[in-house]
Amino acid sequence: MQLLKNKFFIISAVVWLALLAFPLFVSSPFYFHLMILIFLYALLAGAWNILGGYTGQVSLGHAVFFGIGAYSSTLGLVNLGINPWLGMLAGGVIAVIISLIIGYPTFRLRGHYFVIATIALGEIVFVLFTNWEWAGGAVGKTLPFIEPGLKSFQFGPKAPYYYIALSLLTIQLAVTYWMQRSYLGYYFQAIREDQDAARSLGIDISHYKLVAMGFSAFFMAIGGSFYAQYVMYIDPESVLPMMLSIQVCLIAILGGVGTIAGPVIGAAIMIPLAEYSRALLGGSGSALDLVIYGLLIMIIAVAKPSGLMGLITGK
């Protein structure tokens, strides 16, 4: 067990250093974009994983928090003139608060009732933002071009975005690693495995579900703010659709729920797959992705619920 952990650390460290050096050797914008997307989706899937993978509460409406993050920093900047970094933090806090408000009543629901409730909430938020003029409604918000630089969170070349995305992902992975090793990780998994047994050991399951939810929502929102600053345009279709909720979930499942590396591996496979099939086949490309993902997910559900990480670690 110890040996595996060390091997794992060594591999991770090597990969991380390679990623740091990557921009020094590559200049193609396409590859930068690809890596940035991989980092972003790994971050999002990792965030979902805290609630869905570790704690077993499957949310199919998690795009809500991504959207809250994106809208918070964007509206803060466009409507209120607030610095986007502050907006990002504010977005994280707002997402946490909203997640607790949503979680409190819905965590009483078990199994599929909860899942369907998250779908309902996702759609409700989508409709709300589509009809909210101050937030741009269906048209969305375009971010203004400001003097590029770290302070304004805008850059000409892609390299800075690359490093920021990598940093955010690293932070999320570190937090998840700490959480998994602490009593929180054990409690979350106990809740996933057997809620009544968990309660008999003194675990207040509602409380800990909310804790997981808070962490999860926070990182989704951080990802949302980053996305807004990277793409410079947001609307409900791009930051709140159910498809996003589904993708995030799929990546985590494919890579391996309840593991740290799972979401990263999942993103590293699915994002290039998606981008290449879109580049090759256009609109049909995105359909082909779905066919492959769906097939993979069904196979995983039936044969190997622990995903790719399960195959790697032999669990």
Binding site: Y293, L295, A301
Partner: protein, 292 residues
């Protein structure tokens, strides 16, 4: 002024009711499966989508009216439901809940992607339908295809209700739903009953799809909204209750229509989704369901 409002109200109620019958029928399949075994088919809306595309293909290739292809739809979907049970559901019956959720969820993604890949995302309609137009009754317009769909829905409900309550096989289904082990002791093969439940559930949706294709667009994402409406309907009516699905569907149809007319068309789904949340939070077993 009140005359006009009255007329609008009446028309809204009429449309809502007709849609309600369709929702009931779609929900019927979902509630049958759930009633017999504690599994939610997340891909239920996409079963509907398949049926609608089948109707489209028969129409485009052979000029078949959707009502004529209806038996094929039902039979095809029945077989499909059984296959899905054997290949996807049976293996995950003993797996953790997470795996059960993934399984039909993966199916949802797969089916939608497949439909989009084969047929592209655009909206299709069936051509040369003999059944078209509206009936004017006391100043209220009833769409003919919708009326046929409603009649079809009512017939299916009666058929399913009689089957479940009056035939030996139906009783066997109920027995397995009630208590699998006791049913086994009585010689009932629960595996076959589960397969039957999936087949029947899918067949109901198959009928719904054939009827719906007469007056609604056929496209890959069509399963999304109808699937969700089916969940809301089943939740409201009570998971596992046939009667519940019937009345809940009508309520949802009327509520959606009223919300669309008197609040705003873009917000009508908001109302419906909010109903789901209210129901599961306040009265989890719905109108007519049993507590688990």
């Amino acid at each position: 002024m009140s005359d006009i409002t009255g007329a609008v109200l009446a028309q809204t109620l009429a449309s809502g009711l007709l849609w309600g019958f369709v929702y009931s029928l779609i929900a019927l399949g979902l509630t049958v499966i759930f009633g017999v075994m504690d599994i939610v088919n997340f891909a239920h809306g996409d079963f509907l989508m398949i049926s609608m595309f089948v109707a489209y293909v028969f129409n485009a290739s052979f000029g078949m009216n959707a009502l004529v292809s209806l038996p094929f739809n039902a039979a095809l979907l029945f077989v499909f439901g059984v296959i899905i049970y054997k290949v996807l559901i049976k293996p995950v019956l003993t797996a953790p809940p997470l795996a059960q959720i993934f399984s039909t969820f993966g199916l949802l993604v797969f089916l939608r992607g497949l439909a989009q890949f084969i047929f592209k995302a655009d909206y299709k309609t069936l051509e040369n339908l003999t059944l078209q137009g509206r009936v004017d009754f006391l100043g209220i317009f009833f769409s003919k295809p919708q009326m046929v769909a409603s009649a079809g829905a009512v017939i299916m409900f009666i058929v399913m209700y009689l089957f479940i309550t009056k035939t030996k096989t139906g009783w066997a289904l109920l027995a397995v739903a009630e208590n699998k082990q006791a049913a086994a002791l009585m010689g009932i093969n629960s595996d076959r009953m589960y397969a039957l439940a999936w087949g029947l559930g899918a067949a109901c949706v198959g009928v719904a799809g054939a009827l719906l294709a007469n007056f609604y667009y056929v496209f890959p994402e069509v399963g999304a909204v109808f699937g969700f409406l089916a969940f809301v309907t089943v939740a409201l009516g009570g998971f596992g209750s046939i009667q519940g699905a019937f009345w809940a569907g009508l309520i949802i149809g009327v509520t959606e229509a009223l919300a669309g007319t008197f609040i705003a068309p873009s917000l009508k789904y908001l109302v419906v989704f909010s109903i789901y949340l209210l129901v599961v939070l306040i009265r989890p077993r719905g109108l007519m369901g049993h507590t688990s």
